[in-house]
């Protein structure tokens, strides 16, 4: 059936673009954290410049999805695949922006040294990277169990974030001269925490794709 071939090809392309976005986001978060640990402003600037690629893929997802809705009239699961692609692309693009925000913090810390070694933040980032990887994996395999696991991982990231903020408050009270840097570092915690929320959204999208029902994993 000709109509199906066009539709199936389009759906495959959408999937490919989302996998690419996921791979890029996972990498850019790792790069941003490394840049932070090493206070490497050169790497940070590269991350900021590279963000345009993610934006372009998101735009392509929107264009292709819109074209398929207009020309192929998808219904039921086909339609959900396209709706989910829009949502996931927008989540992934936001995640990329948040990684860029981390890189911008690195740029602002140019010439300083870290007031304390990073412990919890890298762990938050690691869990978040795993969440990105597994959310995309759950999408590719249409694995609802793996998608739902995002909620648990997200709780872990949230708990670590609270810990980070508590530690930084202590540091700031002990030594007010650290306030500027500690403030920026707590922002980084917030950015990672938001990235994990978006990965959880992807988990929700996968559940919706498979079951047609929207769960609330971010509760």
């Amino acid at each position: 059936m000709i109509r199906r071939k066009e539709l199936d090809d389009g759906l495959e392309q959408l999937k490919g673009m989302l996998i690419e976005m996921g791979t890029r986001v996972e990498k850019v978060l790792g790069d941003a954290m490394r840049a932070l640990e090493n206070l490497d402003t050169l790497a940070a600037r590269r991350i900021i410049a590279d963000d345009i690629k993610l934006n372009q893929i998101e735009e392509n997802v929107d264009l292709l999805g819109a074209r398929m809705i207009a020309t192929q009239q998808p219904v039921a699961k086909d339609l959900r695949r396209i709706l989910v692609a829009f949502k996931m692309a927008s989540d992934l693009e936001r995640m990329g922006d948040l990684a860029v925000d981390i890189a911008k913090v690195v740029v602002r810390l140019d010439g300083q040294t870290l007031v304390k070694p990073l412990v919890d933040l890298p762990q938050m980032a690691e869990i978040s990277q795993q969440m990105i990887r597994e959310s995309i994996q759950s999408y590719v395999q249409e694995n609802v169990n793996l998608a739902c696991k995002m909620a648990k991982d997200d709780d872990q990231v949230d708990a670590l974030f609270s810990q980070v903020v508590r530690d930084l408050y202590g540091l700031m009270m002990d030594n007010p001269r650290t306030i500027t840097q500690a403030g920026l570092i707590s922002f980084v915690g917030r950015y990672i925490e938001r990235i994990a929320d978006h990965a959880t959204n992807i988990g929700e999208s996968v559940v919706y794709l498979v079951t047609g029902k929207r769960p609330d994993l971010n509760a």
Binding site: M1, R3, R4, L7, Q73, P74, V75, A76, K77, D78, L79, R80, G212, K213
Partner: protein, 252 residues
Amino acid sequence: MQATGMSANNLSVFYGEKEAIKSVSLEFAPREVTALIGPSGCGKSTFLRSLNRMNDTIGGVRTKGEIWIDGENINDPGVDVVLLRQKIGMVWQRPNPFHKSIYENIAFGPRYHGIRKKKQLDAIVEECLRKSALWEETKDRLHSSALALSGGQQQRLCIARSIAVQPKVILMDEPASALDPVSTAKVEELIAELKKDFSIIIVTHNMHQAARVSDKTAFFYMGKVVEYDKTDKIFTNPSEKATDDYISGRFG
């Protein structure tokens, strides 16, 4: 007359030995549009025709089971088929107006059922043409031949003709498949208008038409109803994989 629902109860239809409809039970709610969809040969048109006993006219067809409307099983031997078809009207795939004037096409049914006064017939003709959104286009040529109308107009005339005898249910077998897109849109609009007064059951091959015009959809496959649910549900998240495959064009 009041619109009313109807229901089929364990309905089976046989062509000779072949069981074309296999014990189908469906409820049709009043003032709703129900679409019957499914691949060619799945039995949806046979089912539709059995709802006003049009299959009686085809040789070798045998029907088992019940069809209820107004507390009456239409398959009972004592049922007056002419009165039944007044209650349950039919619109076919190809417009089939009588070779008469526009006026006479509509007046024919009411006159047959005993209305003689010209004033009364005039009023019925106008009302039916208005309800079918044909009045403005035809009021100045009511007495010219119906065959001079375009295909889309002819089909709306057939719909006007079907409602002239005040049916409760209108059956439509692919009413727009022979029409151009603009005429199709008009017929679809008309269906949305008519469901305020009538219950409508429509067979269509056009999946998106089913999605647009109907409140409920029944998916027929191999003589059975695979799934029957609200149209929104069928076209966004059907319960059966076979339904999803069919409406997504994977088979059929």
